[in-house]
């Protein structure tokens, strides 16, 4: 069966990886793209979007986590012997990928941010971040299949094409996992999704107390943006929900404008905002590393600068 295999937690992420997989398949002389699905209906959609074959996993019994599919995935991969196996780098996806790679004794590039193919060697050349984002590591996998987990939204989702045909294979029953789910508490939806905001105002440790975050809120209102924060503001001070911290292990944002207020610019944070189009930083320490990651840096106390900035923005934007 060989080809390029895909597993992702959600439909959206599967479509993104189908898009990555079909572009690799073209360079591999039309290798097959094989995707896992959790229902026949999804399988049909994946075929219309570019998959050549879809392996349908049986439904999980109640109280089973998604990770219960691991043994079934391992068995299918052993039988199918793919060249490449791409998995979406969600939390569950990362565990599943690590366990599949360990069982098959192959290499896995975690959190792969770019990939290209060496056509002659039929080898994937994969990039990922290292040292909290300070460096980029380029790796190749010497085992088989070549495996990578790919963060959601790295690729555009594949779109349906008319009249595509493919094969649907139903996989046999799944053994119950020894990990039993005894409770689920869905997270309350956040009012603002900072990954979607056009402007992100980020609060750092330069704020002296929680109430002062109103300054960041006001700046966000004027610019039509959303407030985010650095990890210590969320995890140590607990001034803002953990959903709002930006960094390598938090949210990755790529707004048109990122404004860092009292943000020092630790590498782990910068990794979460480095794709912003324009970066403005306010910090009273002129040697703060954030200024190296900024287009516009204002050296000054945020308590002095932000009100002036808000005033000037109101004039400029007629607000």
């Amino acid at each position: 069966m060989a080809g390029i295999w895909i597993f992702a937690e959600s439909r959206e992420q599967t479509l993104e990886l189908i898009s990555a997989g079909t572009s690799l398949a073209r360079q591999l002389d039309g290798a097959a793209v094989v995707t896992f699905a959790t229902s026949r209906q999804l399988a049909e959609e994946y075929i219309s979007c570019g998959a050549g074959e879809v392996l349908v996993l049986p439904p999980l019994a109640g109280g089973q986590p998604l990770e219960a599919y691991v043994p079934a995935i391992i068995e299918a991969v052993r039988g199918g012997d793919p060249d490449i196996f791409l998995i979406s780098a969600t939390q569950r996806g990362r565990e599943i990928a690590a366990r599949v790679a360990a069982a098959l004794d192959t290499g896995l590039c975690s959190g792969c941010t770019a990939l290209k193919l060496d056509k002659e060697k039929k080898q994937l050349i994969m990039e990922r971040m290292l040292y909290g984002g300070a460096a980029v590591q380029t790796v190749v996998c010497s085992g088989r299949p070549q495996m990578a987990t790919i963060p959601p939204r790295t690729f555009e989702p594949a779109a349906p094409q008319e009249g595509r045909q493919g094969k649907i294979t139903e996989l046999a029953g799944v053994q119950p996992s020894p990990v039993k789910v005894v409770g689920r508490a869905p997270k309350a939806a956040e009012a603002v999704d900072i990954t979607e905001a056009k402007v992100v105002v980020c609060a750092g440790r330069g704020f002296e107390k929680k109430e002062d975050l109103n300054l960041a809120q006001e700046l966000a209102q004027v610019t039509g943006g959303a407030v985010g924060c650095t990890r210590p503001v969320a995890e140590e001070l607990r001034w803002l929900p953990e959903d709002l911290y930006i960094g390598i292990s938090g949210k990755k944002v790529k707004p048109g404008l990122y404004i860092g207020l009292g943000v020092a610019g630790q590498i782990q944070h910068v990794t979460g905002m480095r794709d912003s189009k324009v970066v403005l930083a306010v910090n009273r320490d002129e040697n703060a590393p954030i200024f190296d990651a900024a287009d516009y840096g204002i050296v000054g106390d945020l308590y002095d600068v932000v009100p002036k900035l808000i005033k000037e923005l109101r004039i400029a934007l007629n607000k």
């Binding site: 969600t90 939390q91 565990e95 896995l108 990794t271 990651a293 600068v305």
Partner: protein, 257 residues
């Protein structure tokens, strides 16, 4: 009695890395080392569970001989002994090797009830070693654990996993492995007495020859280059005229409207 293994990694402190702006080469002179950030939480959680339920905690690391200096730091945080799995070839291991080495060493040492790993290492952050180790040992695992409750009498644990879409609570029979998130606890800061006491705690060395395998990498690094960012790095003062200049520039960029 509960037997807990806490895994940790001795890593370069990424704050000390400098990048040569022209060649993008990493300048590693004068870098310091530390226990990987997330692994401090792993050690702390192991020690807290032992304090609550009794039993023993062993801290385990894999690395080149130079990583020996990590042991005192790890032991000052509470475990009563350590295993040092070391070989000159164990520098710059990739995650599948680390997991395979840990699995072999743990198999040779015998029994355990619970293995605790950090969510990822602060250098590679591949987040593979915990689940890959569980897979190699054939034991169940729970990743991204925010809270764990042990019931040693029933040989089971309940763990809360903090996931993107909410909290999932799972129940697992021991032996098992968990990977923990930073907010599961606040690691203690060792006292001078604890630091001095750590030097007297037993360290057992496990050599590559004890494990009877070669542990070839499955992932090969072609290059490591400093991450670059094209930024203008313009600096302004807090004077009103400068702030107006910044706002004008942002308008021109078209990023505010």
């Amino acid at each position: 009695m509960l037997k807990i293994i806490a895994c940790f990694k001795w890593v370069i402190d990424e704050q000390d890395i400098r990048v040569d702006q022209k060649s993008r080469e990493l300048i590693m002179e004068r870098v310091g080392y530390k226990i990987s950030d997330y692994d401090r939480n792993a050690i702390e959680e192991a020690v807290r569970q032992q304090e609550a339920h009794g039993g023993s905690v062993v801290a385990v690391t894999v690395g080149p001989p130079g990583a020996r200096q990590s042991l005192k730091d790890a032991l000052s945080r509470g475990p009563e002994r350590a295993w040092f799995i070391s070989d000159p070839s164990f520098a710059a291991l990739e995650p599948s090797q680390t997991a395979a080495i840990l699995a072999e060493a743990i198999k040779t040492k015998g029994e355990f009830d619970l293995i605790i790993c950090g969510e990822g290492s602060s250098d590679l952050y591949a987040q593979q070693v915990g689940p890959a180790l569980a897979q190699r040992l054939g034991i169940p695992c729970a990743t991204y654990v925010n809270k764990v409750t042990l019931e040693p009498g029933e040989k089971k644990l309940t763990a809360e996993r903090k996931l993107d879409d909410g909290i999932e609570t799972v129940s697992i029979q021991l032996p098992a492995l968990i990977t923990v998130l930073p907010d599961i606890n606040t690691p203690r800061i060792p006292s001078l007495k604890q630091v001095l006491g750590a030097a007297k705690k037993p360290v057992e060395e496990i050599k590559k020859s004890d494990l009877g395998q070669d542990f070839q990498p499955r992932l090969e690094t072609i290059s490591i280059l400093g991450a670059t960012m094209e930024r203008r790095r313009l600096k302004y003062s807090a004077e009103a005229a400068d702030i107006k200049a910044v706002v004008d520039a942002l308008l021109k960029e078209g990023v505010i409207a």
